[in-house]
Symmetry: C3
Subunit: 143 residues, 3 copies
Amino acid sequence: MVISKTIQLHADPTANQQQMCIIDITHQVEQQVTGTDINSGIVTLFVAGSTAGISTIEFESGLLSDFQGMWERNAPKNIPYDHNRRWGDGNGHSHVRASLLGASLVVPFNDKRLSLGTWQQIVLVDFDNRPRSRQIVLQIMGE
Amino acid sequence: MVISKTIQLHADPTANQQQMCIIDITHQVEQQVTGTDINSGIVTLFVAGSTAGISTIEFESGLLSDFQGMWERNAPKNIPYDHNRRWGDGNGHSHVRASLLGASLVVPFNDKRLSLGTWQQIVLVDFDNRPRSRQIVLQIMGE
Amino acid sequence: MVISKTIQLHADPTANQQQMCIIDITHQVEQQVTGTDINSGIVTLFVAGSTAGISTIEFESGLLSDFQGMWERNAPKNIPYDHNRRWGDGNGHSHVRASLLGASLVVPFNDKRLSLGTWQQIVLVDFDNRPRSRQIVLQIMGE
């Protein structure tokens, strides 16, 4: 059985100093899975777009800041990007980060419970440099 | 229902200065999915081999160069690698990069259409230092 | 069909100098897949917890050391982490690394054989700074 759902989000990476937006979507994923007739299987999360990714993290503000710091060291915002030179939208770092993090995550569930650790949340990481709507596709499969 | 397909590619990372080969496989994935009797589900892409990975990116030459630059900063080619010291094949950086990027990607589809963003392409990233054949397995599952 | 299995591991990152623990789980995954009635499909591997990840690598000691070196350059242990300042458990780098590597991997199989390359092993990468039990969920789906 396949059930397709979407999560719509408004992400505003300009709202904090590091210009990154990390949104905890665990509860919404749980709700969507619980609302189906599928008891065991997998939920595939996929973010459409090339400047955001999906992963898991312990969602506490210290780590969110640490995670942002890692990105700023490894794919800094203020170095030259050929993408920016060509298109002028200033989000070359956003694309590079998103490609490295990855657009998909697959989470198993049994008896409608996701196999997450206690301190492990599912997050959308929006790397872009302007507010935008985001759509995450949840493909729920199983029996 | 499960349908298994493969994409065969010739990748030549020596053809450009950064010795990385990024190949847009979106169209081939779309064709394989469209050619099945499955309307909704997921396609799992997996590259066999330990010096290549799969991700998504906006496939334009500026970004491809920026992406290569990020890898050269974070897992440089010309630093000492224990792998090279032991095996002499000079591709220690290729292995490290591939393990970080990841060998698998899962993309949902509905009505045979992949859930990709407009500027989001699926790519094979070959990090190796010599030309070679690559095989990507597409496991198409759904109903 | 969906069959859910788990792999239980004891991981001790303190046993080596780099304080990282990379465990080859390929054989256990193969055994679990072979032991089911599913011939073709995918196995989703997911590690519960926010300080470990799953990937593939050529499992030889030179590369394991190179991989650890890459993490130490890109998410060093001995820089300030807000997580450590707040919680005092000293594993801020472990969380950051795990979120970047990713908690899930999906591997196709046909005729009960995983689509791995010859030199490509599946690994649990435990980034934490203390010995602990790890549980990996294997969701095996197919027909």
